[in-house]
C-alpha cells in the first residue's frame, strides 16, 4: 500500500475560507465543496487509490487558473491538477487537504494553422478532439494514446503520453512546439511558440512528462502533420508469444519501421473481439497488428515484405484489412483493450514498463510464471516496436487479498523490467503507483537532483505532492 502524507491541519482548519476564496474567483458551478459531490473526484483511472479532495475548482480561462493558483499559493494549499482523470498511475489522485483543479472546462481550440503546421489548444481539449477538428482537411495530431477519445492534451503533456503510432511519429514531447504554463505562484509564462527549438534551457522538454510537479499547463501549441495517402493494418496471428516476439525483432531488424506494431496475447484478443467485432483471430496465442502507410502500391509493397517475414514464423493466419471500416474496427478493439478487459475481470492493474525489445521472450515467459505464482490472470497488450509492455493483471477489488497479490505481482514485473535494462514506466507516468519503486531505477543522489529541480519551480512543494518522488521523512 502506498502511504499519503498527513493532511495539514492548518489547511483543514481554514477549509471554509479557502472555498470562499475560490468562489470569489469562479462562478458557483465552478467550485465543488460538498462531500457527496466530491466523491466522484476521489480517483482517476487507477481505482485502487481514492481520497476525496478538500474542494474542486473548474476554471474556464488562463486568468482564472492563475488567480486560483496565486490564491492557493498565498494560503499554502496543495494543488492537484486534473485533466480527464484517465491516468493509470494515480497522477490525479487527490489529497484530503488539496484542491483539485480540473481543466475540462478549458476545452476550446484557439487556432489551427496549416501553412505553419501547428494548432493552439486549451489544456482541456481531448487528444482526439484535436485530430477531429482537422481531419476533414487531411491533418492530424500524431500521438495517439489508447485513451485518446477522453484524455486531454494537458494530461498528455504532463504524462508525455505515447500511443500505438509513436513508433514512427514519436511521443507527446516530440510533437509539441509551445506551452502556456501557470506557475504555483500564479505567473503566466509562454514557452516556445510556433517555431522550432527555442534557445535557452529546454523548458518544453523538462515540463513534458513532469506529471504536474512543476507547473500547470493551460494552453498547448502542437505540431500537426498531414496524414499519409492511406494506411492499412495487417493482423498476423501466431502460435506463441515467443514466436510473435521473435517476429517483431526481425521486422524491426529488416529496416522497416511500420507506423504501428502492436501485440496482444490470447486473453486480450478475446476481450477486444467481444467489444469491437474486428475479426481478430480467436484461435491465436498472440496477435500482431502491423500498420503501414503510403499509396496503395507502397502499402502493398511494405505489406508484402512484412508478410514474407511473418511467413518465416509459421503464422496461423495473416489478414490485411480491406476497408476503412475494417481498419477502424481493428483499432477500436486495440484502443478499447484495457476497458474491454473489464468484460472478463472486475478490476485490473495496468503495468507500463519498457524493456529492450531483445528481452521480450524472456520477460513474457517470466510474466507467465509469475501469473501462476500469484494465481492471477494476466492479459498482455503492448507497443511491441518500442518494447513498452502493458501486462494487465486481473484481480477482484472486492477481495482484498487478490488486490495485494496484484500489487506485489505488478511490482515484480516492474523490477524485472529495470533488471533487464528497461524502466518502470514508458508512458503512464510514475504517479503515486510507482513512486515507491523509484529507488529501483534511480540512486538517492539522482532522486535528490530531480527533487532539486522540482524545488526550483515549486519551493513549497504544493503542486501535486506525494507523487513521483518517494516521500522523505520530514
Amino acid at each position: 500500500m502506498i502511504s499519503l502524507p498527513e493532511p495539514k491541519a492548518e489547511t483543514l482548519a481554514k477549509r471554509d475560507a479557502i472555498i470562499a476564496g475560490l468562489r470569489r474567483i469562479l462562478p458557483d458551478s465552478g467550485v465543488i465543496a460538498d462531500a457527496a459531490r466530491l466523491k466522484p473526484y476521489e480517483m482517476d483511472g487507477l481505482t485502487a487509490y481514492r481520497r476525496p479532495p478538500l474542494a474542486v475548482a473548474l476554471p474556464e480561462t488562463t486568468e482564472q487558473l492563475a488567480a486560483i493558483l496565486r490564491f492557493l499559493h498565498q494560503e499554502d494549499v496543495r494543488v492537484i491538477p486534473r485533466g480527464a482523470g484517465t491516468s493509470l498511475s494515480g497522477g490525479a489522485l487527490p489529497l484530503a487537504d488539496g484542491v483539485v483543479i480540473g481543466m475540462m472546462r478549458m476545452n476550446r481550440i484557439l487556432e489551427i494553422n496549416y501553412d505553419d503546421r501547428f494548432a493552439v489548444v486549451q489544456a482541456g481539449v481531448t487528444n482526439l478532439g484535436i485530430t477531429a477538428a482537422m481531419q476533414a482537411d487531411g491533418f492530424f495530431y500524431a500521438p495517439d494514446p489508447s485513451s485518446q477519445l477522453a484524455c486531454m492534451i494537458g494530461g498528455n503533456v504532463a504524462m508525455n503520453s505515447g500511443g500505438a503510432h509513436c513508433l514512427k511519429y514519436g511521443v507527446t514531447a516530440n510533437n509539441l512546439l509551445g506551452l502556456k504554463i501557470v506557475t504555483m505562484e500564479g505567473d503566466i509564462l509562454d514557452i516556445g511558440g510556433a517555431h522550432l527549438d527555442a534557445a535557452g534551457y529546454d523548458w518544453l522538454g523538462l515540463l513534458t512528462g513532469s506529471e504536474g510537479q512543476l507547473a500547470m499547463v493551460s494552453e498547448v501549441t502542437v505540431r500537426i502533420l498531414r496524414a499519409a495517402e492511406g494506411q492499412r493494418a495487417m493482423l498476423a496471428a501466431f502460435r506463441s508469444n515467443e514466436i510473435a516476439g521473435a517476429c517483431v525483432d526481425r521486422i524491426i531488424g529488416s529496416g522497416i519501421i511500420p507506423v504501428a506494431l502492436e501485440f496482444m496475447d490470447r486473453p486480450a484478443i478475446h476481450a477486444c473481439e467481444d467489444f469491437a467485432h474486428a475479426g481478430y483471430p480467436l484461435d491465436a496465442e498472440a496477435l500482431l497488428i502491423i500498420e503501414v502507410e503510403g499509396s496503395v502500391a507502397e502499402q502493398d509493397d511494405l505489406l508484402g515484405r512484412i508478410r514474407a517475414i511473418c511467413d518465416d514464423f509459421d503464422p496461423i493466419s495473416c489478414r490485411v484489412s480491406q476497408t476503412a471500416e475494417e481498419s477502424a474496427a481493428i483499432w477500436k478493439g486495440r484502443k478499447g483493450a484495457f476497458g474491454a478487459v473489464g468484460r472478463i475481470s472486475p478490476d485490473y492493474l495496468c503495468m507500463d514498463g519498457t524493456i529492450p525489445t531483445g528481452q521480450l521472450p524472456l520477460v513474457l515467459r517470466r510474466i507467465g510464471e509469475m501469473s501462476e505464482q500469484y494465481r492471477l490472470k494476466v492479459a498482455n497488450i503492448f507497443h511491441a516496436g518500442d518494447g513498452n509492455l502493458h501486462p494487465l493483471i486481473m484481480f477482484d477489488a472486492n477481495d482484498p487479498d487478490s488486490f495485494h497479490r496484484a500489487e506485489a505481482f505488478g511490482a515484480d514485473i516492474l523490477r524485472l523490467c529495470v533488471e533487464v535494462g528497461g524502466c518502470l514506466t514508458g508512458e503512464h507516468g510514475v504517479g503515486v503507483e510507482k513512486r515507491d519503486l523509484m529507488h529501483h531505477q534511480f540512486t538517492a543522489t539522482e532522486l535528490d537532483q530531480q527533487r532539486a529541480i522540482k524545488t526550483a519551480f515549486d519551493p513549497g512543494w504544493l503542486l501535486n505532492p506525494a507523487k513521483v518522488f518517494p516521500l522523505v521523512a520530514a
Partner: protein
C-alpha cells in the same frame, strides 16, 4: 470497480443487478468524452463515469437520495451514448433506470417540480388528455411572454409551450385498434405500436407506416390493449405506472402472438423501441417473464424490419439531400445505425450526416421540458451541425427528435414518411422540391 454492498442489500434483485453493472465499470473515463452533458458542462459529475459513481454511493448508502445527486442524475438525458462508447460493456441504462426509481421512491422534490412531473407522467402517455392539454397550450401560447423566466419552473413552462405545435393535426382513424389487411400477396403479419404522444402530435407517421407496410404485403394489427409502452414514465423513475402500461402491452401482443401469430412488433418511435426491447429485463422477476422476453425478441424498429423485407422504391430518385439525424434511442439504445441510412439511399436520396452524430439533440423524452437550458444548447448545436451539411430535409426515427428539431428553416420528418413517399405514398407536406 470495487463496491460495498452488504449481503442483505444484494438480496434485492435490482441492487444485485446494479452491483453487476458497477463491477463491470473500470473507471477508464472513455464515456465522458461522448456524453453530451459533460461536453457542455465540463464537470465529472455531469459525465457518465461521475454519475455512475454518484449512483454507486447513493445505492451503497441505502439512505434517501440527496439533492446534489438528484441534480446530476436528472441532467442525464438517457441518450445512452455512454453505452456505445464503453469498451467494458457497462449497462448504464439499467443502472440509471434503477437510480431514477430509487430517487422517485426516496426523494421528495420541491412541490412545483413534483406537480409538473406528475402532470407530465399523467398527460403525455394519455392521448386524450394530451390532446386537450395541447389545445390549452395553443391558447396559452400568446401569453408565454408573460411567464417569468427567472425561475426553473417558469423556464420549464416556457419550454413546454414552445414545444406545443400551433395547429394540432386531426386524429387519424387508421391508428385506432384494428387490422389493416395486406395488399396483394400477404408476406407477413406484424403488430404496430402506435404510441401515445406521437399519435397526437404526428399521426402522419403511423399513417405512412401502415400504408407502406400494407403496400409491401404486410398485415398490420393494432391490438386494443396496447396504449403507451411505459417508456415515458419509466424514464421518470415512476415504476408502477410504467410497469402497468408495459404489462398491458405485453398482454395485448401476447394474445396476437398466440393467436394469428406475429412476425414482428413494429415500433416507429425509437424511444419506445428501446424500452420494449428491454421488457425482458424489466420483467425478469415477474410472472410475465417469458412473455415479456418473447415480446422483446420480436420488437423491431421499422427500419430494421424494412431491411428484412427488402424495401424497394417505386419512384425515380427525387434529387433531394437528406440529413439523417440518428436518434439516440435508435443508435445507442438499440444499436440500429446502418439500416435507416441504407434505406434512404435505396430510396434514392443523397444521405448526409452531421458532425458529432453521436451527440443527443436534447429531446430525450421529457428532458426538453425538465432541463430546458441544456436541451436548448444541444438543440442549437445539433441544428447547426445539420445545417452545415446543406440538406433539403432532416429525417429522424423518433417523434421526440422530430419535435425538438422542428422550427428551423429545414423540414423535419420521420424516415418512414420519406420511404413511403418513394414507394408510392403521398409526398410529405413541407418538402420543397417535387418528386418525379
Amino acid at each position: 470497480m470495487q463496491t460495498h454492498f452488504s449481503a442483505e442489500q444484494l438480496r434485492d434483485s435490482d441492487t444485485a443487478a446494479s452491483n453487476t453493472v458497477l463491477r463491470t465499470c473500470v473507471h477508464c473515463g472513455f464515456c465522458t468524452a461522448t456524453c453530451p452533458t459533460f461536453v457542455l458542462l465540463g464537470d465529472e459529475l455531469d459525465s457518465p463515469r461521475g454519475r455512475i459513481y454518484l449512483i454507486k454511493e447513493m445505492l451503497e448508502s441505502g439512505k434517501p437520495a440527496t439533492e446534489p445527486v438528484v441534480r446530476h442524475v436528472d441532467r442525464c438525458l438517457s441518450c445512452l451514448s455512454c453505452m456505445t462508447t464503453c469498451p467494458s460493456g457497462v449497462n448504464y441504462m439499467h443502472l440509471v433506470d434503477h437510480a431514477r426509481r430509487y430517487i422517485e421512491e426516496t426523494y421528495t422534490r420541491p412541490w412545483p417540480e413534483r406537480m409538473l412531473r406528475g402532470v407530465l407522467a399523467r398527460v403525455l402517455p394519455n392521448p386524450r388528455l394530451f390532446r386537450l392539454a395541447l389545445r390549452a397550450a395553443a391558447l396559452a401560447r400568446p401569453a408565454a411572454g408573460l411567464i417569468p423566466t427567472g425561475t426553473v419552473t417558469g423556464k420549464r413552462m416556457q419550454a413546454m409551450l414552445s414545444l406545443a405545435p400551433t395547429a394540432l393535426p386531426s386524429d387519424s382513424p387508421a391508428q385506432r385498434p384494428q387490422v389493416h389487411q395486406a395488399q396483394g400477396v400477404k408476406r407477413g403479419r406484424v403488430a404496430l405500436l402506435t404510441g401515445c404522444a406521437q399519435k397526437v402530435l404526428a399521426p402522419r407517421i403511423n399513417d405512412a407506416t401502415i400504408r407502406l407496410l400494407t403496400r409491401l404485403g404486410i398485415e398490420v394489427v393494432i391490438p386494443p390493449e396496447v396504449g403507451c409502452c411505459g417508456a415515458l414514465t419509466h424514464h421518470m423513475g415512476q415504476h408502477d405506472p410504467a410497469m402497468a402500461a408495459a404489462r398491458a402491452a405485453i398482454a395485448g401482443w401476447t394474445r396476437e402472438i398466440d393467436g394469428a401469430g406475429l412476425d414482428a412488433i413494429i415500433i416507429n418511435t425509437s424511444g419506445c423501441g428501446t424500452t420494449v426491447k428491454d421488457y425482458g429485463f424489466m420483467f425478469r422477476d415477474a410472472p410475465e417473464a417469458a412473455q415479456a422476453a418473447r415480446v422483446s425478441g420480436l420488437a423491431a424498429d421499422i427500419s430494421e424490419y424494412l431491411v428484412r423485407i427488402d424495401y424497394q422504391p417505386q419512384r425515380g430518385a427525387p434529387g433531394l439531400t437528406v440529413a439523417y439525424h440518428a436518434a439516440c434511442s435508435l443508435q445507442h439504445g438499440q444499436k440500429v445505425t446502418g439500416a435507416p441510412k441504407a434505406l434512404l439511399k435505396t430510396a434514392g436520396f443523397t444521405v448526409v450526416e452531421p458532425r458529432d452524430p453521436h451527440l443527443c439533440c436534447g429531446s430525450a423524452g421529457t428532458y426538453n421540458i425538465l432541463q430546458p437550458e441544456i436541451a436548448g444548447q444541444l438543440r442549437s448545436r445539433k441544428l447547426a451541425n445539420l445545417q452545415e451539411r446543406r440538406p433539403d430535409v432532416i429525417a429522424a426515427g423518433n417523434i421526440g427528435c422530430i419535435t425538438q428539431l422542428s422550427g428551423s428553416d429545414l423540414p423535419v420528418m420521420h424516415t418512414v414518411e420519406l420511404l413511403d413517399w418513394m414507394a408510392g405514398g403521398p409526398q410529405p407536406s413541407g418538402l420543397a422540391a417535387g418528386g418525379s
